[in-house]
Symmetry: D3
Subunit: 131 residues, 6 copies
Amino acid sequence: MATLPALSDAEADERARAVFDDIRRKRNTDFVNNFWRVLGNDPPLLEAVWGRLQEVMGPGALDPLVKEMIYVAVSVANGCDYCIHSHTAAARAKGMTPAQHGELLSVIAMASQTNALAAALGVEVDERFRA
Amino acid sequence: MATLPALSDAEADERARAVFDDIRRKRNTDFVNNFWRVLGNDPPLLEAVWGRLQEVMGPGALDPLVKEMIYVAVSVANGCDYCIHSHTAAARAKGMTPAQHGELLSVIAMASQTNALAAALGVEVDERFRA
Amino acid sequence: MATLPALSDAEADERARAVFDDIRRKRNTDFVNNFWRVLGNDPPLLEAVWGRLQEVMGPGALDPLVKEMIYVAVSVANGCDYCIHSHTAAARAKGMTPAQHGELLSVIAMASQTNALAAALGVEVDERFRA
Amino acid sequence: MATLPALSDAEADERARAVFDDIRRKRNTDFVNNFWRVLGNDPPLLEAVWGRLQEVMGPGALDPLVKEMIYVAVSVANGCDYCIHSHTAAARAKGMTPAQHGELLSVIAMASQTNALAAALGVEVDERFRA
Amino acid sequence: MATLPALSDAEADERARAVFDDIRRKRNTDFVNNFWRVLGNDPPLLEAVWGRLQEVMGPGALDPLVKEMIYVAVSVANGCDYCIHSHTAAARAKGMTPAQHGELLSVIAMASQTNALAAALGVEVDERFRA
Amino acid sequence: MATLPALSDAEADERARAVFDDIRRKRNTDFVNNFWRVLGNDPPLLEAVWGRLQEVMGPGALDPLVKEMIYVAVSVANGCDYCIHSHTAAARAKGMTPAQHGELLSVIAMASQTNALAAALGVEVDERFRA
């Protein structure tokens, strides 16, 4: 368990349960993952996060799979184990191949090491990189 | 300036200058950015990082532009100002549109907030997200 | 288990046990949580950390509950699962209501996303924000 | 400058300018800080962030000053220089005294060191801290 | 389990198994730890990381034990539980005493708190610290 | 400038000036760097941090130069530009050679990338790495 319990449908209040229903409907599944069930303890926050997530992660100028891989990258750098697992699964569900996963990992590892080197060296931003 | 100086071609030793030349050739430009010029103080590290970067960032299962956006995402989460500027510029040079940039920012912001929430709530990873 | 064992009172040396006793006395409980029991492997560090914690977290210009919430906020941003759990529990013991917890989570999530955006955009600090 | 320019009112499009106007009105000032002016390059993101910020930071179960201090705490842990400066200024504008600022800094420093120690020791979360 | 399975020798392909064999040979042990077994799902990445690790961690201007302690320090600051455990074990195998471990922890804790304070205060880098 | 001003000796109160004097005496220099001058706005915190720093960084089971390199490593991972500069300078003052600096950078870069990979893969800690 966590700092707050993951609520079953029966334990959730009406507003939270409405979001759980919307998650099942939009994702065409009967599965609601723990993140939402724990967030269900605070229905206004649950609604705000779920609402914004749909706006951000849907199709647009970037492919939904690309968005999931960016999500994984941020989650790795922030060390969020839950988010790494859930968004890696989401990326696979959207078609990420093992080769793409391998390249995602390689870019994340590369960026992590040059981030550290640029910080350690205190490199000044080149004029031409500024807007 | 930084913790080590950015070396001009004249200041760099032969091994470092050979990498600077390779950067200019591969990128088809006469510009060598500060990261490499500072790293030039340690030629073996410069060679290792430049060599690996080329393997990782070239075409493959993921589009080079997608790789640059993943690089930006990691750099933002790690708070590396230099890397954010240089890889945002690289992404633009590879065709990133303002709309794509806006969606990249939105996904990064979204992931950052759910990373924090999942951590704050201590959410347990769902069984089905494990390999 | 961890990188060092959590010491029972019998396993701890005299200096560590004296701190465990002080923790019980000051907190008016017979419970000593794992953080202190693991830190008990290094009595001078245990004494330094416990001593400083009391100076910092006691009443002063800020309410003790407010201090616990600030502690949780830092721990979330640093991704420290242990600290998130222990200081969320401490905040509840000091009277944090579910509504206050919900607002704490919302502020943490909001800050996390604008931290990421300000970094991604490389926003310059406004003159009037400088001391 | 940054990865995108800070837009003057004249440079911003109509949607961005409407947000700038709303910021001035709600804050009762003629000053719009750089964060919003840079975010003005992406009006939908600007609207989403500004809208959510007002919901989160207004009065509620927590005092607005407490919220600003939590915001500072997260921003410090994430190393966001811009956010540290802007929210420290906001906390002062809401009445934060030097003594409160000092205690805020002390709690942040304390949490940062015990976060590191708990991580370094791999301390297991005590059963009683779980929901 | 993880986002990818830890491969036994039988499950690994030829390239991955060759790296496992090299790990056993170089470390003079029959034990291959999980990091490599999970990385074995992507043989090119496994080879690149293992190859680079040997170049970096071997004897040179710094003692191998000192390198392991630096590795632990970075891993703590990044909150990488796996790396903290594996490199603390490696440091012990290379002779780290309890007193050295205690001082390592103390320095990490000290740096973590002054890192936070310097960020919170936005301290300007002194001219004489620049290269 | 920063979120608080760097105080000259004339601007500092008696308690802060006593710490500045102690810094000059212990370090045998007439230079007091900005970190302490800004912290001088909160004399009790200044005393606590300076006092603890001396206990932690002096000779002991680890060499003072090794401690400085560990300090740099943590500061890089936390992205603290001020601390990177000041402790890199301190390490040089204690004899760090360019070759040692290069290896320090290489270990930090290596750890940063395997930290990210271990997180991305969600690798389980091996039983034998636990205390």
